[in-house]
Amino acid sequence: MAQIFSYILHKDGVVDDTALELAAAAKKIDAGATPNAIVVGSGDSLDAVCNEMVASYGEVWKVANDAITYPDAEMIRKLLVNILPADSILLFAHEHLGMDLAPGLSVKMDSAFVSDVVDVEGADGATLKLVRQEFGGAVSAHVTCDASQGAVMTMRPGAFAADESKGAGGQVVDKSAEAGDLAVNRKFLEIVEAEAGDVDITKSEVLVSCGRGIEDEENLEIAFDLAKAMGADVSCSRPIVDAKWLPKARQVGTSGQTVKPKVYLACGISGSFQHMGGIKGNPFIVAINKNPKAPIFQVADVGVVDDMLDFLPELTEKIEEL
């Protein structure tokens, strides 16, 4: 089988958790393979990242380039086309850089593309058998991918248990000289940091979180009433912020805040991986959802199948009576 490469995410010398998850995914594709890593960036911290990765990868391809101090997908895509063997299997994390970089890369490499892979069931020759989810996680799908001309895949963060074996005994290979022409028509300007909100939900111990099931802006009151009775704060899923009903600082998820409460009440939230990705520290999760098949019930500790618009006010009333 073709060589497998993982693209390593890192920031200020700190390697992202997905680096070892991709190593695990690579071994699920080909148990006998020693996967390779690609580490792109600039400065002293790059060597630290490479040296850390040799424990988990066979060859660690280092590309030092001052133009890529900030990981710009347009430039990195060009670079990867310049240095990689055409029929490689390339693994990225399914997050904002991977989403920016990988689909176009598959076209430029003339490889097959599969995104947001949650499991690998194995390979049958050059045909990879993968698992994805569709419809916001309501159903899973078996997918086959013809990797005979190579494949580019993005893997869901957290879906693969990190490969902690650290026995690869690999070596750093400096590929910086092969980077080639990196001129692009998109120029990175700056990062604009998110505005702080009226409450800091990252510090909250108890969160009453509402999702699209709240149905109407006016109904938010029932969530605030419950939160008040419980001594909790109100957070929400993305659609509530998209609708401008609550500020972005109250959004839980990969593109919002990462929260670490003791107790999390998910009300009218389906349980998408982008939402759940923002909940850390293994809280006690209560899901209140009118659909008994909602994916949230697979990850919650306790579930209530009911209309939140009826249930929350009754719960509030009973708590107030205590």
Partner: protein
């Protein structure tokens, strides 16, 4: 500015419970309510707002069957000037790359400065925009949540982690995939739909577009749908509402959820 927006007709997950069919190998497609992919609707709104400011036209395009026409009409009712349907039996079994190839062929027949897609659709693949840009050899940015026109360039923001934004300057022509929340899509009433009900929507097939079988041959195929066995999941509280609330309050007390 001429803007092309790629849209897809999808089952509306807020109107349907997506479930497996009896045989357990496909979703139950009876009585599904369809609508325009949520992300695409934001993309159309953004295109309309840009054209309102700097002038030009908005075309909406979809690869799909005849029923996708209703989605094109809905977006035209929002204000898009033209709709184009790309439809052919040969497109039905293709993958994301094939869809991008079909769109690329249609783009080549027009003269667009900016092409917008939704960041992703019902399959969560988030792939067509990036592939289309690569096929056209133009710059791409995904998860775009602000666009400012600056001459023949755009200043755009990409949504990254933690609500932070990655700002870029990008030259046109380019392809951008649009993230939800970038704007507040306008409401479309029955009246608006009626107004565009008889506007002709040209349909193009593989032969019109010059797309051959190889371009739409799928390398990635869905074998089936299934429900994974994820262990026990949540303990569902049973009883009447009072009993459920009583149990829940005990649990919340025990876990530190009541102060």
């Amino acid at each position: 500015m001429e803007i092309l927006v790629c849209v897809k007709r999808v089952p509306d997950t807020s109107e349907n419970e997506i479930e497996l069919n009896g045989a357990g190998n496909d979703i139950d497609r009876d009585d599904l309510v369809y609508s325009v992919n949520e992300w695409d609707n934001y993309a159309v709104e953004e295109a309309l707002q840009i054209v309102d400011k700097v002038g030009g036209g908005v075309t909406v395009i979809s690869v799909g069957d005849d029923e996708s026409e209703e989605v094109l009409r809905r977006e035209m009712a929002m204000g898009a000037d033209k709709g184009i349907l790309l439809s052919d039996d040969a497109f039905e079994e293709t993958d994301g790359r094939g869809i991008a190839a079909v769109l690329k062929a249609a783009v080549d027949k027009g003269n667009y400065d900016l092409i917008l897609t939704g960041a992703q659709a019902d399959d969560g693949a988030a792939q067509v925009g990036g592939m289309l840009a690569a096929m056209m050899d133009v710059p791409f940015a995904s998860l775009v949540n602000t666009i400012e026109v600056d001459g023949d360039k755009l200043k755009i923001g990409r949504e990254i982690e933690g609500g932070n934004q990655e700002m870029h300057e990008i030259s046109m022509p380019c392809v951008l995939s649009i993230q939800t929340g970038i704007n507040e899509p306008r409401y479309v009433g029955i009246r608006g739909i009626r107004k565009v009900a008889s506007v002709e929507i040209p349909t193009m097939g593989a032969a019109d577009l010059g797309v051959d079988a190889a371009a739409v041959a799928a390398r990635v195929k869905r074998a089936d749908y299934f429900l994974p066995d994820l262990g026990e999941g949540a303990e569902i509280l049973e009883g009447d509402t009072d009993e459920i609330i009583e149990k829940l309050i005990e649990l919340l007390k025990a876990k530190g959820g009541l102060k």
